[in-house]
Symmetry: C2
Subunit: 333 residues, 2 copies
Amino acid sequence: MTESVVPARIVDVAALAGVSAGTASKALNGTGQLRAETRERVRRAAEQLGFTPDPIGRGLSSGRSYTVGLITTDSFGRFSIPILLGAENALGAGEMSVLLCDSRDDPLREQHYLRTLLARRVDGIIVTGRRTESRPPIAIPDHVPVVHAFTPSQDPADTSLTIDQAGGATAAVAHVLDLGRRRVAHVTGPEDHHAAQVRRAAAEAAAGDALVGPSLHGDWSERWGRLAADLLLRRHPDLDAVTCGSDQIARGICDGLRDAGRRVPEDVAVVGFDDWDVIALASRPPLTTVNLGLEALGRRAGELLLGAVAGHPSPGTTTMPTRLVVRQSSVPA
Amino acid sequence: MTESVVPARIVDVAALAGVSAGTASKALNGTGQLRAETRERVRRAAEQLGFTPDPIGRGLSSGRSYTVGLITTDSFGRFSIPILLGAENALGAGEMSVLLCDSRDDPLREQHYLRTLLARRVDGIIVTGRRTESRPPIAIPDHVPVVHAFTPSQDPADTSLTIDQAGGATAAVAHVLDLGRRRVAHVTGPEDHHAAQVRRAAAEAAAGDALVGPSLHGDWSERWGRLAADLLLRRHPDLDAVTCGSDQIARGICDGLRDAGRRVPEDVAVVGFDDWDVIALASRPPLTTVNLGLEALGRRAGELLLGAVAGHPSPGTTTMPTRLVVRQSSVPA
């Protein structure tokens, strides 16, 4: 019936169906709120003209191109970036368009960003941050998929991914006990940080009788680690292992112990937390530590977002495993 | 005749007219330098779709919403992220949508990403990387604005932003000479890295007679810094200042000098390069160093991209200033 020298365009389909090009596009992509009758009329017109969607249309309709909003309090630092790269791997490298929103812990700023993301019609939103305490759910319409990654939602019905910090801290202590150490200390970050609390509780439970005393809280810095090493040696000169709440603290502990004439790991084994390569590998000696698996977490976040976009949400909180990485701060080279 | 439940968007108009959203916006607003034929095609497309500028369209036409491709070899690490944040500041926080493309130094992968970015009709592309040597221009149609940031293009007609590494290295040496130091060494990264070459040449020229000997090349690590401190003290026991090609090397130098019983800065002043806070602030003592001004560079990249999108390209290479930051590794607290 028809002869096309050039392929049919969406406008041709629209003209034949008696609708706008935008409506025709939505009808063919199964998006928008159209009457079934309209959708059917457009589909018949497309069939009649032998219309095939263009590459962008195909990418969108086959679910290969996504625009994702990333809301973070981490200014795209060491936690957000690995999660972002992991999500991108799940969604297709170079196929995911990201709207970066650094809320800086400001609820008003976050509200502004959410309005922007909705106006830009994002396919989904990943909410993350630099802390592990749960946060209030974000206020957006139900039809926009949201995955909370690293920083979970307070609403158990939301989709959240957390890391197994307790498991990591337990593995760290079990490792030094396996090495025969029996005078174990734990040094960590601020007392009011969830990460410090969870890691401390697990470490103390795992150490049991081997614990030399209550854990020490300070900030997440190398300086605090050096100070803590000095404190520990005064109180417990027979100390033979220290597990830490972060790699920065552990690196400071190593430096402080060496300054005091102790050998790491021969006299005292030290274990960090995070496996932040810049710190863990430059430490003297390189740190045995707990890898957070942030890229795997990001990948899972991307997969859960894909599922939700396709109509299969995954409510609930999933705890992702952490992994002990053994280096010379606990086992001599 | 037409039925639109949801209004047509500027991107629909752009897609129908076969131009970028930025071009469509300019055509409808009568701004930019477009061919009359293009303007007319966009106007017809808008009419066909019954397009009325919605809030998003208004955002675009007032220059507030952009999709930018970021091609990097830096895996979104310490160089790319500050540049990205700076660009976002220029383009409007939360208003810039970014397509992240990590080319991993692979030309084939880069070609794939460029095709993706063109198919996604980005408003512009920022090309960056972790090294400062110039790179071949990217192969894309003339109408897509490109800004090379940190890693300049080999084509002098392209828009490139570089940092004043020579100025930074000169300022570092001038600083230790001002402090009265007269036995100065320079320790840097691999001999075949542009950053090491440029910083070395400027440091040696600035030191003149005060230079103790040829500069030392190694890798960009703390370990190399510790090793170099040992080497330097054997060859030049009367050394009183070391300027370095990076903060990691400088931190290693500080540790190596302290291990050998030298006081920093009383006996030997040490200056780093990069002002990478994780390293520079944790160093003992904290490092005097050269701040790269990456956020300012990113902001300028965003501004140049905005200008080019609006029809005002800025061909040529602009060198952005670096800045000496004085801390306790050169001046006692």
